[in-house]
C-alpha cells in the first residue's frame, strides 16, 4: 500500500520542468502528457490528449498555414527606433537589442505574401516572444504595408494576433499604430477585399482594439485570452473576482465578437473554406 502514501507534490502541475533534458520531449502545460517534438509538430503544436494549444510563433504558423515554400517575407530587416530614448529599469535600445539576440526576430511581427491551397494571400503573424508581442512602430508599419500589398495585388489579408497590446516604450507612437493600421483596413474594405483576423492566446489591449477586432471574419483559437483590458486590471478596478472563462474565446463567441472558434489543426482548411466565399464571383 506504499503508493497510497505518495506525496501530493508529485502531482503538481507547476513544479515539473516543461522541457525534458534532451529537448525532444515536451510536457503538456495542461494535462502533463509527455509528447515528442516531432509528434507535436505534426499535430500543429496541439496536445493530442487534451487539445491544449501550445503558444507558437510566426515561423510555426507560416509552416502550418501556408503552402510549402510559398511565403515571401516583406520588410524583414525593419527594426525599431527609440524615438523617446525610453528608459525604465532598462534602456529600450538595450531591450530591443537583447530581444533580437534572444529570439532571432527583429520585432513582434512577420509579414509577407504566401499561398493557402494555391490561393495568394497577404499574411501577417505576430510573435508573443518579442516583448510580449507588443505593437510599436515596426509592428504597425509592417502590418500597414502588408495591408497595402493586399490592396495593390487585390488579394485577401490575414493577420494572426498574439499580443499584450501597444508597446509602452514608444509612447504615443505606439498608440497611433492602432489608427494607422485601422485606416489601412478601411481602405482595403472600400476596395471590397477580404480581411480575416485570427486571434490567438493572448490578444489584448491596443491590438484587440484595432486590427484584431476588424476582420470581415474574426476567428479565435480555443481557450485564448482575448480582451481590451487585462484581467488583472479589471479585477483591481472592480475589486471582485472575475467569472470563470471570462475573456476566453468561448466568452467572445458567446457575446458575439468572433465568428467561430477553430482548432489549429483545422485552421488551414477552415480558412480555405471561408476564402472561397470572400470574393466577387457570382457563383
Amino acid at each position: 500500500m506504499k503508493w497510497f502514501k505518495r506525496s501530493k507534490n508529485n502531482f503538481s502541475t507547476t513544479s515539473i520542468k516543461r522541457e525534458v533534458p534532451d529537448g525532444q520531449w515536451i510536457k503538456c502545460d495542461t494535462c502533463n502528457e509527455i509528447i515528442h517534438v516531432k509528434q507535436m509538430e505534426a499535430n500543429s503544436f496541439v496536445c493530442e490528449k487534451c487539445g491544449y494549444h501550445f503558444r507558437i510563433g510566426s515561423k510555426e504558423y507560416i509552416d502550418i498555414l501556408l503552402d510549402k515554400n510559398s511565403f515571401k517575407e516583406l520588410d524583414k530587416k525593419m527594426k525599431s527606433g527609440d524615438p523617446l530614448e525610453f528608459v525604465d529599469t532598462k534602456n529600450y535600445k538595450d531591450r530591443i537589442r537583447d530581444t533580437i539576440k534572444k529570439t532571432g526576430l527583429n520585432d513582434a511581427v512577420a509579414t509577407g505574401v504566401g499561398k493557402i491551397n494555391g490561393r495568394k494571400v497577404a499574411f501577417a503573424c505576430m510573435d508573443f516572444r518579442f516583448i510580449g508581442g507588443s505593437m510599436g512602430s515596426v509592428v504597425g508599419e509592417k502590418i500597414a504595408r502588408a495591408i497595402d500589398k493586399a490592396y495593390q495585388q487585390k488579394i485577401p489579408m490575414i493577420i494572426i494576433s498574439q499580443s499584450g497590446g501597444a508597446r509602452m516604450m514608444e509612447g504615443a507612437f505606439s498608440l497611433m499604430q492602432m489608427a494607422k493600421t485601422s485606416a489601412r483596413l478601411a481602405r482595403l474594405a472600400d476596395a471590397k477585399l477580404p480581411f480575416i483576423s485570427i486571434l490567438t492566446d493572448p490578444t489584448t489591449g491596443g491590438t484587440t482594439a484595432s486590427y484584431a477586432m476588424l476582420g470581415d471574419i474574426n476567428i479565435a483559437e480555443p481557450d485564448a485570452l482575448i480582451g481590451f483590458a487585462g484581467p488583472r486590471v479589471i479585477k483591481q478596478t472592480i475589486g471582485k473576482d472575475l467569472p470563470k472563462g471570462f475573456q476566453k474565446s468561448e466568452f467572445l463567441l458567446e457575446h458575439g465578437f468572433v465568428d467561430f472558434i477553430v482548432k489549429r489543426t483545422e485552421l488551414k482548411q477552415k480558412l480555405d473554406d471561408v476564402l472561397s466565399y470572400l470574393n466577387q464571383d457570382a457563383n
Partner: protein, 316 residues
C-alpha cells in the same frame, strides 16, 4: 467653495490670498503700492512656475478638478447645443456627450468625454471612462454629421476606456477599433482636441481626424504614468519617472510630429481663466474648420490616411 490647489500652485495661491486680504484693508490704509508690488511678484512667480513645468506637473494640470470639461466648453463656445443620446442598440453612455451645436455661424457636431466635478456627478459620468456604448454613440453621431455634411469636433478628456466586466462583454475593444476604422474614412472634416487627459485607446477612440490639437497643459499617450509605473517598475511609485519617460506633453507630441498644433492656455492654466481659454479655443477651431472646409472629401480622407501612416519611427 474650497479650492483645489496643486502642490506647485501653493506659493502662487498664498500670495494671491495675501493680496486679497490687503485689498480689504486698502480703504483704511495707504498700501496700494505694496499691493501693486505683490501683484507684479505673483505675475513673475506664475510665469516662472509655468515656464518650468515638469511633465508630471502637466499631467496634474490636465487632471485639475477645476479644469473646464467638454460641457463647459460647449457652454462657453457654442450656441443652440442639441444633445443627442444613445447608441440605438443598448444604452446612453454618460461618459461621452455629443450633439449638434453652432460656433458663431458654423454648425458642427461636437463630441467629447465628460468627467464629473464631485463624487455624485463623477459616478454619473463614470469618471469620464466610457463603455462600448459610448464609442458607438459617438460613431452614430459622427455618421449623422457625415450625412448632413457638418464638420466634427471631438474633445478628448479621459483617464481611459472603462476596464469592467460589462465593458468586455459588450466589446470595448471592438467599439474602439470600429471607431478608428470608420473615422478614418468619414467624408467630413474632423478636428480632434485633447482638452485634458488623452489616455490611450480610450482617448484615441474619438481621436482620428484631420487636425490633432492639444491644449498646452494636457497629456496624450499609450498609457497613464501610473499604469506604466506599475507595469515597468512593478510599483506605483515611479509615476514621475514614467511621465518623463513617456514624453506625453503637448510640446513632446508636437516634436514627435503626432499633433499639429498646441492651443496656448492662459497663464496659470485653463482652470485659472476658463473664459480666455474658451475664447482661444473657439478662435482656433473656427480657423481650422475654415481651412479644412476647402478640401474635397476624397482628398481629405487620403490626407488622413497618410497623416497616420507617417507616424512611427523605425529603421530598414
Amino acid at each position: 467653495m474650497t479650492r483645489n490647489i496643486l502642490e506647485f500652485e501653493k506659493p502662487i495661491f498664498e500670495l494671491e490670498k495675501k493680496i486679497d486680504e490687503m485689498r480689504k484693508l486698502e480703504s483704511s490704509l495707504n498700501i496700494s503700492d505694496e499691493i501693486n508690488n505683490l501683484e507684479d511678484k505673483v505675475e513673475q512667480l506664475k510665469k516662472s512656475v509655468f515656464a518650468n513645468l515638469t511633465r508630471w506637473q502637466r499631467v496634474q494640470l490636465a487632471r485639475h478638478p477645476e479644469r473646464p470639461y467638454t460641457k463647459d466648453y460647449l457652454h462657453m463656445i457654442t450656441e443652440n447645443f442639441v444633445e443627442l443620446h444613445g447608441d440605438r442598440a443598448y444604452k446612453d453612455d454618460k461618459a461621452i456627450v455629443g450633439g449638434f451645436a453652432t460656433i458663431d455661424d458654423q454648425k458642427v457636431m461636437i463630441i467629447g468625454h465628460q468627467k464629473g466635478r464631485d463624487t455624485k456627478s463623477n459616478l454619473y459620468r463614470n469618471f469620464g471612462m466610457p463603455n462600448p456604448e459610448g464609442y458607438r454613440k459617438a460613431l452614430r453621431l459622427m455618421k449623422l454629421a457625415e450625412k448632413f455634411n457638418k464638420p466634427i469636433i471631438t474633445l478628448l478628456d479621459t483617464p481611459g476606456a472603462y476596464p469592467g466586466i460589462k465593458a468586455e462583454e459588450n466589446g470595448q475593444a471592438e467599439a474602439i477599433a470600429r471607431n478608428l476604422f470608420e473615422m478614418s474614412r468619414l467624408k467630413v472634416p474632423i478636428i480632434v482636441v485633447v482638452i485634458g487627459e488623452g489616455a490611450s485607446g480610450g482617448a484615441l477612440g474619438l481621436g482620428v481626424g484631420d487636425r490633432i490639437l492639444m491644449l498646452e497643459n494636457t497629456w496624450y499617450s499609450v498609457i497613464s504614468p501610473e499604469s506604466c509605473s506599475s507595469i515597468l517598475w512593478r510599483s506605483w511609485d515611479f509615476k514621475e519617472q514614467a511621465a518623463e519617460a513617456l514624453k506625453l506633453t503637448a510640446p513632446d507630441l508636437l516634436e514627435q510630429g503626432i499633433i499639429d498644433r498646441i492651443v496656448p492656455e492662459p497663464l496659470g492654466g485653463a482652470h485659472n481663466d476658463p473664459d480666455t481659454m474658451a475664447e482661444t479655443l473657439k478662435a482656433t477651431l473656427l480657423e481650422e474648420i475654415k481651412i479644412l472646409r476647402k478640401i474635397k472629401p476624397d482628398k481629405l480622407i487620403d490626407m488622413r490616411l497618410h497623416k497616420f501612416g507617417n507616424m512611427g519611427v523605425y529603421s530598414e
